[in-house]
């Protein structure tokens, strides 16, 4: 029970790292809280659902499609909303109101379009993808069922989600630390005013970060039918709250701290489910309060953010 909870928590936590990654990137660069983050995740989930329902498209290619579509949406959306917001006296506080409104609009429009009922994608769809990849490396056909990890059996969708989340974290790392745009992004994250003074096109850098943030949310949404039971237009709010807890645990403004926050959350959640199941859903809030009391800058704090 202990080992299973630990490994399950690791996989579940990696998924929540992916969910929080985009939210933290946007906060780190723009110092605004995107309360519609969970709603973009929900839209990504519905995109995957409809791609599967209409074209029988496997969720794996849907990850790339969702990322590209929502990253593209993010660029114009940034220019429409954020520069005006940043000119305000208190952009952080106003961002709460603005993105809360956006969240409500997205939820309402999606409800009108798709109804209120739960929607799902069959779990074996990700199993097929995992089996195909495993078969490629093993050189023989692999079953599409659950996957064995360190003697424990997990749904293939969990493993796929964990791998995809790991890849996404790696790509964000490469972007931030190995590309020119990434260097500029980190410069903006470190000090926006100094970045402007040195001639960095802050809006271009921020728009790209905003696009990546939405793209990551949508990509995480593709896994939502498998990791969160089912999808509904109303799921966004709850996801945003949990993602916010994850990034506060890791460190606000430090995208890579999100990984640590996600894993801490995932493992704690699974242990709570195993040993105090009735209280499991209180966990994000308890961790949030504990971190704010003990280490307000998050587990990784500012030191890493400035590295």
């Amino acid at each position: 029970m202990f080992t299973y909870s630990l490994l399950a928590g690791l996989l579940f936590g990696l998924y929540f790292s992916l969910i929080g990654l985009g939210l933290n990137l946007v906060f780190g660069v723009m110092r605004i809280v995107n309360l519609a983050h969970g709603d973009f995740l929900m839209l990504g989930a519905f995109l995957a659902f409809w791609l599967f329902t209409l074209f029988a498209l496997n969720p794996v290619p849907a990850i790339v499609i969702a990322f590209l579509v929502f990253a593209s949406v993010g660029l114009p959306l940034y220019y429409l909303l954020v520069p005006r917001l940043l000119r305000a006296k208190d952009p952080e506080m106003l961002s709460f109101i603005l993105f809360f409104g956006l969240s409500q609009v997205i939820e309402a429009v999606t409800t009108i379009a798709f109804g209120t009922s739960e929607r799902s994608i069959p779990g074996d769809q990700l199993g097929h993808a995992v089996a195909a990849v495993a078969g490629f490396f093993a050189g023989h056909k692999v079953d599409t069922g659950p996957v064995e990890l360190l003697g424990q059996t997990f749904p293939a969708s969990w493993v796929a989600s964990g791998v995809a989340s790991g890849c996404a974290v790696l790509l964000v790392y490469v972007y931030l630390y190995r590309t020119r745009l990434g260097y500029l992004t980190r410069a903006v994250m470190d000090n926006r005013e100094e970045a402007i003074a040195t001639g960095i096109n802050v809006h271009r850098v921020s728009a790209v970060a905003f696009g990546i943030g939405l793209g990551l949310a949508a990509a995480a949404g593709v896994f939502a039918p498998f990791m969160l039971g089912s999808i509904t237009p109303a799921m966004g709010g709850e996801v945003t709250v949990t993602a916010f807890a994850v990034i506060v645990i890791g460190s606000l403004g430090n995208p890579l701290g999100t990984v640590l926050g996600g894993i801490v959350y995932g493992i704690s959640y699974m242990f709570m489910q195993s040993y105090y199941s009735s209280w499991a859903n209180l966990l994000p809030y308890v961790l949030l309060i504990a971190i704010l009391l003990v280490r307000p800058s998050g587990l990784l704090g500012r030191r890493v953010r400035r590295a």
Binding site: T111, S117, P155, S157, G229, P233, A234, Q273, S278
Partner: protein
């Protein structure tokens, strides 16, 4: 002299009728809530649509007959969206009573969103028409302002399930039962009832796993592993529709084969569950047989077949699935129609009296309407069913308990 007396009586009755008609309101104001979004939307919207179907039918016919005014009066529905939020629901229930001054207060679907209405209605001395809020603690001897209309009280739902486990179970090899439930009034009460029934049976059946989880739970993989570790012969999952969808998904994805698996909503909202977990996910799952699955003899209102046809005609273009909750909303309308035809005024306790007068006499597509003295519904009944492979790729639900209603044999262990 006799002629004069008859004439006087006739004049008096005509005058009374004229006064009654003159005092009659232009419309009967019904107030309710629904959840168009959030966790309870999928059980709230079908109930709301079922109620609206009845209202539209009655209004198309000139209204509903109200004995208190001896005439047909149109119905006006005031409905607000609580978005599955209990705090919002509490505010809106107050608004319906104090601002809109509705004549009849109807709760939203399900125990969670009804729970906040119970004390509010009681404080305002408004009779609460509780559609499907089945929590047993809502019904107490000191609260006359509530009656459960379209759903049996939670404490009796699992009786057939528990009876099956304790009577036929040991013979089939069922001795160890695992129970996982969502900690809300609806399923929490059922879990208590299961515990009580099993304990009182002295059948040798024991609960080897008994855990509650928050209603918001959407992932059961670790819990399933823990249940498997307890080596149960039967697994009972008591949750709402979204819980059952996530649970059955996780069972499939984990590759775990439980010998006996019971969930509530596959029977209640079969269309919704089949869309989400597929026919394969429902294979050999045990569930309740609600009114949407059994064609009861009626003495009032449409039959199940007629209602199903009316529903699919009216709501063909919506995203709301037909199921037990649709039947429940329509049943609420039928009970109100009968009550208004019996009540001598729109006074709240008079409405209560009229509703209680139907107990044991009214038979709708939802079964026999019967209330206990506290207003809990005890007439409608939930036999135990099991999904088996159907001829057209859709799973077929057969009744397996009680024996006198059974049209199939239980398949155990689950293949």
């Amino acid at each position: 002299m006799t002629r004069l007396a008859i004439l006087t009586a006739l004049m008096a009755s005509l005058t009374t009728a004229a006064v009654q008609a003159a005092d009659a309101p232009a419309e009967i104001k019904l107030g309710t809530l629904y959840a168009s979004s959030g966790r309870f939307a999928s059980i709230s919207m079908p109930v709301h649509y079922g109620l609206k179907l009845w209202i539209d039918q009655k209004n198309a016919d000139g209204g509903v007959y109200v004995k208190a005014f001896n005439k047909k009066i149109p119905l006006k529905l005031t409905a607000y969206d609580d978005q599955s939020n209990t705090a919002t629901a509490a505010t809106l229930y107050n608004q319906l009573i104090t601002q809109d001054k509705v004549d009849i207060l109807i709760a939203d679907s399900g125990s969670v969103l009804t729970s906040v209405a119970v004390p509010i209605a009681r404080d305002h001395k408004m009779f609460l028409v509780d559609q499907t809020g089945t929590g047993a603690n809502f019904f107490t001897p000191d609260n006359p302002y509530i009656a459960l209309i379209a759903d049996p009280v939670s404490s009796i739902w699992p009786k057939p399930l528990a009876d099956f486990l304790t009577h036929d179970g040991p013979g089939l090899g069922i001795k160890r039962v695992a129970m996982l439930y969502a900690t809300n009034d609806f399923t929490g009460t059922q879990a208590n009832a299961v515990r009580k029934f099993i304990k009182e049976s002295n059948s040798g059946v024991e609960l080897v796993f008994d855990e509650g989880v928050p209603t918001e739970t959407s992932n059961y993989t670790v819990l399933l592993n823990n249940i498997r570790a307890s080596n149960p012969d039967a697994v009972l999952h008591l949750g709402y529709a979204s819980n059952d969808i996530a649970f059955l998904h996780n069972v499939q994805d984990s590759g775990i084969k439980f010998k006996f698996l019971f969930c509530i909503y596959p029977g209640l909202e079969t269309e919704l569950l089949e869309k989400n977990v597929g026919a394969k996910g429902l294979d050999y799952v045990f569930t309740y047989m609600p009114a949407s699955q059994i064609a009861y003899q009626t003495n009032f209102g449409m039959s199940l077949q007629e209602f199903s046809a009316a529903w699919h005609k009216k709501y063909a273009d919506t995203h709301v699935e037909f199921g037990f909750n649709s039947v429940a909303g329509y049943t609420t309308g039928l009970v109100l129609e009968k009550a208004l035809a019996n009540a001598s005024s729109l006074d709240q306790l008079e409405l209560r009296k009229a509703v209680f007068s139907l107990s044991g006499n009214l038979k709708t597509l939802d079964g026999t309407f019967e209330l206990d003295p506290n207003g809990a519904q005890i007439g409608e009944f939930t036999p135990l069913g099991q999904f088996v492979a159907g001829a057209d790729d859709h799973p077929k639900l057969v009744t397996v308990w009680p024996h006198d209603l059974a049209n199939g044999k239980p398949i155990y262990p689950r293949p």
